[in-house]
Amino acid sequence: MAGRKALGHRTHDGEGTDHVKRSAFKNPWLPILLLVPQLSIIAVFFYWPAGYAVQTSFFLQDPFGFGSTYVGLENYTDLATSTNYLDALKFTAVFTTVVTFFSLGIALLLAVKADKVIRGARSYRTLLMWVYAVAPPVAGLMGVMLFDQSRGNLTQLLQSFGWDFTLGVSYWDTAFAMMTVSVWKQIPVNFIFFLSGLQAIPNSVREAALIDNKSSMGRFWDVTFPLLAPTGFFLLIINITYALFDTFGIIDTIVKGEPGNNPMTLVYRVFVDGFRGGDLGGSSAQSVVLMILVLILTVVQFRLLERRIHYT
C-alpha cells in the first residue's frame, strides 16, 4: 500500500510552478522598469482623474466657472436625499438584475442547444460574435429604430399583442427598450463563454452521466451546470459590470436630448448632472460612489476567480 500513497503526491505539481515564477527575475529593478509605461498610463488616465474627482466632490462649483467653494460632505448628503438620484439607484438595481439575468439565461440556453448540434463548428460562433462587434451607440440606434413610435418593427409587433408602446414617453416602455437592447448586445459574449465552457467538459464525463442518469434535465443540473459554474461566476461579474457601466452608449442613444423623465442608470446620471446640469461637485460625488462600487465588484471578482475551482 505504501506505493499507492507515494503516488498521491505526483499530481500536486503546484509548488513546482511557483518556484519557477519566483526565480524568473534576478534583478528586482528590471520588472519595475518594464512596468513603468503601464503604470504611468494607469496613473495619468486613472489615478489622476480619480483623485481629481474625489477632490471636486468636496466643492461646490460656480455654474459660470468662477471658482468653487469648499462644502465638505454636502454633495454626498445631498445625494442621499435627492429623489432623482435615488430613482436612478433603484432603476439601476432593477436594470442590472434584469439585464444580467436575461443575458446570462438566454445565452446559456442558446449555448446548451448549440452545443448539442454543433460540437466543434466554428463558423457558427464567429457569426454570433458579430453582434459583439456592434458599438453600443449603434446598438442603441438600432433599438431606437426598432422601437420607433410610428415606424418601429418591434413597436408594431408589440401593438399586435395589444401593447401600445411609446418609446421616450412611457417610463417603463423606455426602460424595456433599454433592457432589450442591452441584453441583446451582451448575449453573444456570454454565449461564447458558455459554449466553450460546455465544450471543455470531457465527452466521457457526459457519457458516464448518460449511463448514471436517465433524465437529461437531471444530468444538466447535476453534472453540466456545476461544471459550468466557474464560467458562470466569472460571467456574472462581467455582466454586472457591463450593465452598470458599458450600457452608457445604449442609454445615451435612447434617451438623448430628453433625460428629464426617462429612466437612467447611475453612470448616465453622472454624465447628465455633470455635463448637462453643470453640477460638477455633485457629479463627482456620484463618481466616487461608483468608484467604490467598482472597487467592491473587483474585490469580489478576484476573490471568486481565485477560488475558482480548477477541475483537472
Partner: protein, 348 residues
C-alpha cells in the same frame, strides 16, 4: 449477470465510414471477453454500441433476454469504466460512486452502505471525501472501478481502463480487475490493444481487424492456432515468423529450404509458413539455416534476429543458452509449423 448476444450488428458512422461490418457472437453469463485489435479497428465502437452510447446501424443486441437496441444507456443496467476514468470532477469520491444509485431512487442509507463496501474492497475508504483531482492516477482508476461495482450491473464494460497507468500499476490493476470480475461473476467486455492484457485476462478473446472479427477463441486457441496471418502476427511478442514458401513435393521455404513435418491437406502451390520464435531451437541436427545478425537480451530470454533464405526471422532462446552472431542450424519442435493462404492469409 446476463448473457450478451450480438446478431449481425453493424456500424456505419454518419460520415459513411463503416466502422464495423455485420458481426455476431455470444458472451455466456459470467464470462470476460476481451476485444483486442490495432488502433482504429472498431473496438471502442463495438463497446459503445453495447453501452448504448452509439447507435446500432443494423442488427440486434440482446443483454439478458431483452433486446436493447433502443434502450437508454441508463436502463441497460450496465457499468462502464473509461480510459480517462471520466469521474465527475466536482463530486467527491463517495458522490461519484453513489451518483448512479441516487438516480435509481435508492434510499440514502443503502447507497452509503454500498459505497462504503466498495470503497473498503478497493482501499479507498480514506479518500471518500476527496475530489478526483486530489487523487493519483491509480486511485482514480479505483474510483472508476468502484463506481462500476456499486451498481451491481448485469454487464461491465471496460474501454482500455489501464492504458493511462504506468507498467507496474497496470500489472497490479489487471490482476485486481480480474479478481473482482471473478468474485462478482459479472459478464464483462474488456477492450484493449495490449495483447498481454488480452492473453492474461480473457476467458475468450475476440480479435478485430478493420471492423471485422478475425477470430474468436480462448487465449490458448488464439495463440496456438491463429486463424489468420493477422492474428498470428498481432498476438504474441515477438510475433510469429511468417515466411513465404510453397507446397508441392513436401514443404519448402523460398530459396529451396525444405521444412520437415506434415504438409497441409489438399493444398499445393504458394503458401505462407508461420513459425513461432519459441518453437524452434538451435541444434546441430537442425534443418533450417539461420543467419543471426542481432542479439537482443530480454533477461529471461534472448532474441536472435536474422534471416532464413533471405527472409527475416526471429528465434527466442532461454537465457542460459549461449548465442552468437553468424550461421546456425535450427530444429523445429513438433507442431511448430502453421500454414496460411498466401493471398487471403487464412489458416489452412
Amino acid at each position: 449477470m446476463a448473457k450478451v448476444n450480438l446478431q449481425d450488428v453493424r456500424k456505419v458512422y454518419p460520415n459513411g465510414h463503416e466502422a464495423l461490418v455485420p458481426c455476431s457472437f455470444d458472451i455466456p453469463d459470467g464470462e470476460l471477453v476481451v476485444l483486442v485489435g490495432p488502433s482504429g479497428c472498431g473496438k471502442s465502437t463495438l463497446l459503445r454500441m453495447i453501452a448504448g452510447l452509439e447507435e446500432i446501424t443494423e442488427g440486434q443486441l440482446t443483454i439478458g433476454d431483452r433486446v436493447v437496441n433502443h434502450v437508454d444507456p441508463a436502463d441497460r443496467n450496465i457499468a462502464m469504466v473509461f480510459q480517462n476514468y471520466a469521474l465527475y470532477p466536482h463530486m467527491t469520491v463517495a458522490q461519484n460512486m453513489g451518483y448512479g444509485l441516487k438516480n435509481r431512487g435508492l434510499p440514502k442509507p443503502e447507497i452509503d452502505q454500498k459505497v462504503r463496501d466498495a470503497a473498503d474492497m478497493l482501499d479507498l475508504t480514506e479518500y471518500l471525501n476527496r475530489r478526483p483531482n486530489q487523487l493519483s492516477g491509480g486511485q482514480r482508476q479505483r474510483v472508476a472501478m468502484g463506481r462500476a461495482i456499486v451498481r451491481s450491473p448485469d454487464l461491465f464494460l471496460f474501454d482500455e481502463p489501464l492504458s493511462n497507468l504506468d507498467a507496474k500499476l497496470r500489472n497490479q490493476m489487471r490482476i485486481e480487475i480480474r479478481a473482482l470480475q471473478r468474485r462478482f461473476n459479472t459478464t464483462s467486455v474488456y477492450v484493449t490493444h495490449d495483447q498481454v492484457e488480452a492473453m492474461t485476462m480473457a476467458d475468450r478473446i475476440i480479435v478485430l481487424n478493420k471492423g471485422q472479427i478475425e477470430q474468436i477463441g480462448t487465449p490458448s486457441q488464439i495463440y496456438g492456432s491463429p486463424a489468420s496471418t493477422f492474428v498470428a502476427s498481432f498476438m504474441g511478442a515477438p510475433p510469429m515468423n511468417l515466411l513465404s514458401g510453397s507446397v508441392g513435393d513436401g514443404v519448402q521455404i523460398d530459396g529451396g529450404i525444405a521444412v520437415s513435418g506434415p504438409s497441409p491437406q489438399g493444398h499445393t502451390g504458394p503458401v505462407t509458413i508461420g513459425i513461432r520464435p519459441e518453437d524452434v531451437e538451435p541444434s546441430e541436427a537442425g534443418v533450417l539455416p539461420f543467419e543471426v545478425s542481432i542479439i537482443e537480451e530480454l533477461g529471461a530470454q534472448r532474441l536472435l534476429h536474422g534471416e532464413i533464405g533471405g527472409q527475416s526471422f526471429s528465434v527466442a532462446v532461454p537465457k542460459d543458452q549461449n548465442a552468437e552472431t553468424g550461421t546456425m542450424k535450427l530444429a523445429l519442435k513438433p507442431g511448430a509449423v502453421h500454414f496460411f493462404h498466401n493471398e487471403n492469409g487464412r489458416r489452412i
